[in-house]
């Protein structure tokens, strides 16, 4: 993914090792291990209840794990002399006193570390909150609250960022802004861990994916590898003789699925091979389109068994 910027002098990474968290009889996080590498954006995916938020809370010391460790640059988070400089976290954007202004909220956090008001104003500018900085945060829209949460995470100029659903409630412009911000942060050499349900955004923002299901890691690979899992490349064909085409393609190693009376999907053959088989037999092809697997398909394929909360009807 290109060279890592050397703007930062410390190599920042999060290492999660055999993390387990039990609540009585149920397991929220089950032997989870992964690394968030510097200079990359790692996407954290999983159905609701899979353990993503719990894992993120354990990383910043809010929950105590039953077993396992999390280290930030080799040290435990609580032992850092300036925790906000190690990890900037956005876990719950609504976690603000409604009667306090945005600027004062940031100041109450900044002052614990001796971070001056100059930095507070800097993050306000960075997140576009200048016009509402003195407004009481109880009056904020969902998007403004998210921006305030992101501003809080940036206060310490952290080497690692842990962001739980940062695009929740943002308008399309805001969604793009978060994507660019995450990529800029990673380009500066920081390690970014980002959870989201917005698949299309995740596909464009993340370099790697860690997928959780029922508390376990079910995938930990690059985006490209996850997409490849979803069945590789398919080709959508519109033709005048679907059955004849199937007969022609099967001996060549292609798997044909009939989608409509004149449409099929072929797996395992390139468009050139399909056209090459159809033409001499007189089968006409009107559309020949390679279809790339979407992250959504890959995600559903991976997590179908692991969904914790599912609505009643519409089982496929």
């Amino acid at each position: 993914m290109g060279t890592v910027s050397l703007l930062r002098s410390v190599v920042d990474m999060i290492e999660v090792s055999h993390l387990t968290k039990r609540h009585g009889a149920s397991i929220a996080v089950d032997d989870v291990s992964f690394t968030v590498a510097p200079g990359t954006v790692t996407g954290f995916l999983g159905p609701n209840g899979a353990g993503k938020s719990t894992t993120m809370r354990i990383i910043v010391g809010l929950d105590r794990p039953t077993s396992g460790t999390v280290t930030i640059n080799g040290n435990r988070y609580a032992n850092s002399p300036a925790p906000l400089q190690e990890v900037g976290a956005l876990l719950d954007a609504g976690a603000v006193h409604p009667g306090r202004s945005a600027r004062n909220h940031l100041r109450t956090v900044a002052r614990t570390h001796g971070i001056p008001d100059r930095r507070v104003d800097e993050v306000i500018g960075l997140t576009g909150l200048e016009s509402v900085a003195h407004r009481r945060s109880g009056k904020f829209s969902l998007g403004m609250g998210q921006r305030l949460g992101i501003a809080t995470a940036l206060l310490g100029d952290p080497g690692t960022l842990v962001l739980d659903e940062p695009v929740n409630g943002l308008d399309p412009e805001g969604v793009i802004w978060v994507r660019q911000l995450c990529r800029s942060l990673a380009a500066e050499g920081r390690a970014v861990l980002l959870s989201s349900h917005l698949m299309s955004e995740m596909a464009q923002t993340a370099d790697r994916l860690v997928v959780l299901g029922r508390g376990r890691v079910i995938a930990d690979e690059s985006i490209a590898d996850v997409l490849a899992r979803a069945g590789g490349d398919r080709v959508a064909v519109k033709t005048n003789a679907a059955e004849r085409l199937e007969e022609l393609l099967r001996p060549l190693g292609g798997t044909v699925t009939h989608v409509a009376i004149d449409r099929v999907e072929v797996v395992g053959l390139s468009p050139e091979q399909i056209a090459g088989a159809a033409a001499p037999a007189g089968v006409m092809i009107f559309e020949l389109v390679p279809v790339q697997a979407s992250l959504e398909d890959a995600f559903f394929g991976l997590t179908d068994d692991s969904v914790e909360y599912r609505a009643g009807s519409a089982r496929r």
Partner: protein
């Protein structure tokens, strides 16, 4: 995605940030002062104490001659009860100072910044205690001011700096500081504002009555185990009427009322998930 020479997102600071206890305390102070409701409760406490002082002075004035004859004692009788106003509001302020962070989830932001957690509890206690001290003294002075104005019509003039008056104000302030620490610990344990306020006010108001009713009239042994007993003994202690033997027991009881919740709150702070 190659490296390009662009300006960093955030300008580096002149000095590296670092968590110190002084800074955590400063942050807690900012939390209290940056919220309008804190100021409102404070002003209300002072205003109501002044009103209470005037009201009690008015009842004293139904017999102006007796009021004048009472001297400094009359004056103290009018300003000391203002502490009851303080008990209500200052304990509520202390409780809300703690519980609002849990209710809004702000606690997670605080503990993410200070993962060692105990400094936050200590800092909150100190800030609450200092504010209680200031509010108590200002309320007492306000009560003295209004009651003096009312009592002066009987010809009674007392100075604010009369030793007896200062002792009374000092004892009230000390009592309210203890009560504030107690409130902060209870709120830390219960995390819920309604339950904490109910418990603190219950200990203050209901428990003494219940003990007296259950044990039959004013049974000295039992009532001495109450936190509120410390209030009256503190007054007596400062005015020198408390026998030395009781002083030891009272100090132990007061310490227990504070130290047990403190230990429990400290344990809960460190061990519990947020």
């Amino acid at each position: 995605m190659s490296t390009t020479a662009h300006a960093p997102l955030l300008r580096p600071l002149d000095r590296a940030p670092r968590v110190t206890f002084a800074r955590v305390t400063r942050a807690e102070g900012t939390k209290l002062t940056s919220v309008r409701s804190s100021w409102l409760i404070g002003l209300l406490t002072i205003a109501l104490s002044a009103a209470a002082g005037a009201a009690i002075a008015a009842t004293e004035m139904t017999d102006p001659a007796a009021a004048l004859a009472g001297g400094v004692g009359t004056s103290i009788r009018t300003i000391a009860p203002a502490v009851v106003v303080g008990e209500m509001f200052i304990s509520v302020l202390a409780v809300l100072f703690v519980t609002q962070e849990f209710a809004t989830g702000q606690k997670r932001v605080t503990y993410a910044a200070v993962p060692k957690r105990l400094p936050v509890l200590a800092a909150k206690t100190i800030v609450a205690a200092v504010v209680a001290l200031i509010l108590s003294v200002v309320s007492s002075v306000a009560a003295w001011a209004t009651s003096s104005a009312v009592l002066s019509r009987s010809g009674l003039r007392t100075s604010l700096f009369d030793p007896a008056v200062l002792q009374s104000i000092g004892a009230s302030a000390a009592w309210l500081v203890l009560l504030t620490v107690f409130s902060v610990m209870i709120a830390t344990l219960l995390r819920n504002s309604a339950a904490s306020i109910a418990l603190v006010l219950g200990v203050l108001l209901v428990l003494p009555i219940a003990v007296r009713v259950i044990t039959g009239s004013s049974d000295f042994e039992w009532s001495s185990l109450l936190l509120t007993y410390s209030e009256t003994t503190m007054n007596q202690l400062i005015t020198g009427t408390e026998p030395a033997a009781d002083l030891g027991r009272d100090l132990v009881v007061t310490a227990a009322w504070l130290l047990v919740p403190m230990a429990a709150a400290a344990w809960a702070t460190v061990r519990r998930d947020v």
